[in-house]
Symmetry: C2
Subunit: 569 residues, 2 copies
Amino acid sequence: MTHPLFTKHEATLDQALAAIATRGYWSPFSEMPSPKVYGETANSDGEAAFKAHLNRPFELDQPFSGETVGNERSPFGFELGIRYPKMDIDTLLAASTAAQRQWRAAGPTAWVGVSLEILSRLNKASFEIGYSVMHTTGQAFMMAFQAGGPHAQDRALEAVTYAWDQLRRIPADAHWEKPQGKNPPLAMHKQFTVVPRGTGLVLGCCTFPTWNGYPGMFADLATGNTVIVKPHPGAILPLAITVRIAREVLREAGFDPNVITLLATGGNDGPLVQDLALRPEIKIIDFTGSTQNGNWLECNAHQAQVYTEKAGVNQIVIDSVDNIKAVASNIAFSLALYSGQMCTAPQNIYVPRDGIRTSEGQMSFDEVAKALAAAVEKLVADPARAVELTGAIQNEGVMSRIAEARQLGEVLTDTQSLAHPVFPDARVRSPLMLKLDVHADAKNFTREWFGPISFVIATDSTAQSLELAGSIAAEHGALTFSIYSTDDAVVEAAYATAIHGGVALSINLTSGVFVNQTAAYSDFHGTGANPAANAALSDAAFVANRFRVVQSRAHVAPKAAAPTVGQTA
Amino acid sequence: MTHPLFTKHEATLDQALAAIATRGYWSPFSEMPSPKVYGETANSDGEAAFKAHLNRPFELDQPFSGETVGNERSPFGFELGIRYPKMDIDTLLAASTAAQRQWRAAGPTAWVGVSLEILSRLNKASFEIGYSVMHTTGQAFMMAFQAGGPHAQDRALEAVTYAWDQLRRIPADAHWEKPQGKNPPLAMHKQFTVVPRGTGLVLGCCTFPTWNGYPGMFADLATGNTVIVKPHPGAILPLAITVRIAREVLREAGFDPNVITLLATGGNDGPLVQDLALRPEIKIIDFTGSTQNGNWLECNAHQAQVYTEKAGVNQIVIDSVDNIKAVASNIAFSLALYSGQMCTAPQNIYVPRDGIRTSEGQMSFDEVAKALAAAVEKLVADPARAVELTGAIQNEGVMSRIAEARQLGEVLTDTQSLAHPVFPDARVRSPLMLKLDVHADAKNFTREWFGPISFVIATDSTAQSLELAGSIAAEHGALTFSIYSTDDAVVEAAYATAIHGGVALSINLTSGVFVNQTAAYSDFHGTGANPAANAALSDAAFVANRFRVVQSRAHVAPKAAAPTVGQTA
């Protein structure tokens, strides 16, 4: 019995299956906030929907006491004033557990069909979600729309597709018939049932609540688990809207909406999360956040499958270039984009202290550093345009980190406050770039400085730059790694470095692709092979252990005739 | 570049891929020790090869100090007297690490091709390995040959097949081309490299050293990892022969034989194993053994992917039967086979205290218990035939457990020493069966009594039997579960119980299939859904996290022409 929602979306799923196999470009969701695609009034409707959430209780029909929580503040300078239902953990776990039986029994095509329908509805809400992502994370609108809307939906669909790609390999039943020489064969009928783990917990982050939260959430749903979504206290709204839409779809499809629930918190939720994460009902945890919290989950939540994305040190090795301007402007864009508040943003830029070869001759280290700094300065020269790239600083922790980083070395370009033309109280800072030395400053550049902070590091040679990049990735984690070189042997050595460090390599990016961007269905986000993440988005390993298979077997009559005396084959 | 050994075995691999998809009967390895299949002198040659190992050093060209270890004793009553190279852990890890680079670079078809060639050679050594399994585990020869030879090879091939089924989904490269409206598309060439985790550690058990050891070993090899095989000190020889054969194949194929190494120990190796298991070089651990040791690994070896098979309580629910004799004789066989020293052997048999329905009328609890005991007694009535079923008791721990169990309740049939016609000093015991009560004896029957020990437990009802079976499986683990019922609704309830307990169900087994047997490619062994095992043999989850993928991307020229002004689609 194929679920009708599966049939409805099967053509999309088939295309997605082809995309993850060939890994070329594909997406069913338009990344342009175009009125032609989303409707003439989609932008204003979405903004109005966002504004309608402000300064009032968020309606969510979950079983709760009546108390509310919520302290979100837009990095663009105002309180959201939204109050969410405060959930008691025991009540929440009981509701999630109670929803399991019917959901589990519905089977794979229902799980996948419902997941795809939710995504289709989320896509229609991309503007509302986009504005919500903007005013919780500090992303500028275009990025909030794209990364928080269609790109997040792509990563979700990718996870659903991987889940289905594994689920479809489990036959519902089998006839097993073993020859027994001259005796009749042994024959058995076997039945195979996909059994979800139980309840999954998704722990969201404050910078990419949907993009980082959706893969685990949809991998759980598509494999028949129920899900508790615990957003970061600073970025609840995008996930609250998501959960509400998902619950609507579940209810319409005849399921208990508590298959997915929201656990909103008002801040300082560490002890509550630790309690919840160790509860026996929680069988899967998807986490994006600090290394400290991620490691704690990996080392303590033994009852659960734990998938983490944590801190890392992203690196760029500059060996030689054709056109330093193209290189510097590509790198500057990566540094300025959302003020470096991306897990994929580069931090360490290694340049040999003796300089590099370019098509216009040798450039000294200082000239390269200056070109990089100049490119950043050019990008942020016009604040009104710059803020559409940098967005705002998500939290005060990033602000203090910028202040602390300014003391680490010679400033190549200093951070400055940028005036936002629309939001006068927005917390906007241009990127800070410092000059460091490979020998003197290792203790500082071997850790993550999350935010608009980068280091141009003088090394003894490209060979040393590569060795360092590989060992830092392997020991401290990394999600991205770039090489700039006109020498094929160096590029090849960089790929060997990437393999050693377990990190994806981008080679000579100069045009419209940036190292901090990954494309769903094509680029794996993270590898699971270094400390920055123990999983990749998405692959078979990300989904295959979210369900198990229980089987039965019973004798049946053989289908083959027993050999007859005198008969020859 | 497809490796020649992959091409050589590709037809077998294709059949194995079809088998795991349809889960019907299939095997490329003959389970009958037939001269027609294995050669006229295979049996005597194999026995001679086994005997040639006795009382001398085992030749293995691993880097070692010259010291040797080894204290194996046949449960059939003699010292093996074999001395194995004693390995220093640092030397071993260094050798395994040094072997990684070339092996990793060889790529998936080499890993899979070499694995398949090793299996083909192991199959030819099935008699030598069979005798070695017999005289380390205590299995009777036929079982030692089948479970230790072709069936273990089947489970290994199954793991290799699952590995290949995942590996083949990763394209070597991709062309990614994203339309940009009226501008030329963005185009990138991407390269994907499968990167093994590093070094795997396989921790063997003393009852099924090859059957339980091969899946992890071959899953590691087939995904490009190097492997250290640490057999149980009581059952080294079968894995030592295996490692030697694997090293020969590796060497012939031009690889460093240290891709696979043996770590033999002389007993009391707990501290050494704990040291090794936490070493950062160890990225994967496959363990079969006690719950205590398995849990320790799961909770402490955070640097590794840990796959465990531990203790469990296997259960049979008797509700109603057509033919009690057929039921009793099937169950008795399961209890006697290898003296219950199987992780799949039943232990708890629940019968309602008010008795059961049969086609010949109602039977009281005591009549059912007596029928079960009588069937066991009949099976072991002729010691010379019985020993071919029971084999010998592997170790003194099982002997003391039998003695302890005799005190737990009313004895239905007592254990007795059986004389072995060939090996007068063999440690052979017939099964012990006790009568217990569901209310009084729960503290005893909720844990595993590994060995020829079973309990017929009086319950209040079949409903209670099922409830108990499900909750014991979920809380204490179980690998097998049987229902005997002529009522479809009860069978259906038993399947719901199996899903709750995360355990495979066998329904009304009466002819030549026994609950303790699982068929590779068709039956999953373990589910990973209860405490008896955190993984199943084999499925995608068992292999997909043993490797990771590292990619690169670089700009290339688009393949599609940019839209031309005036041109319409």
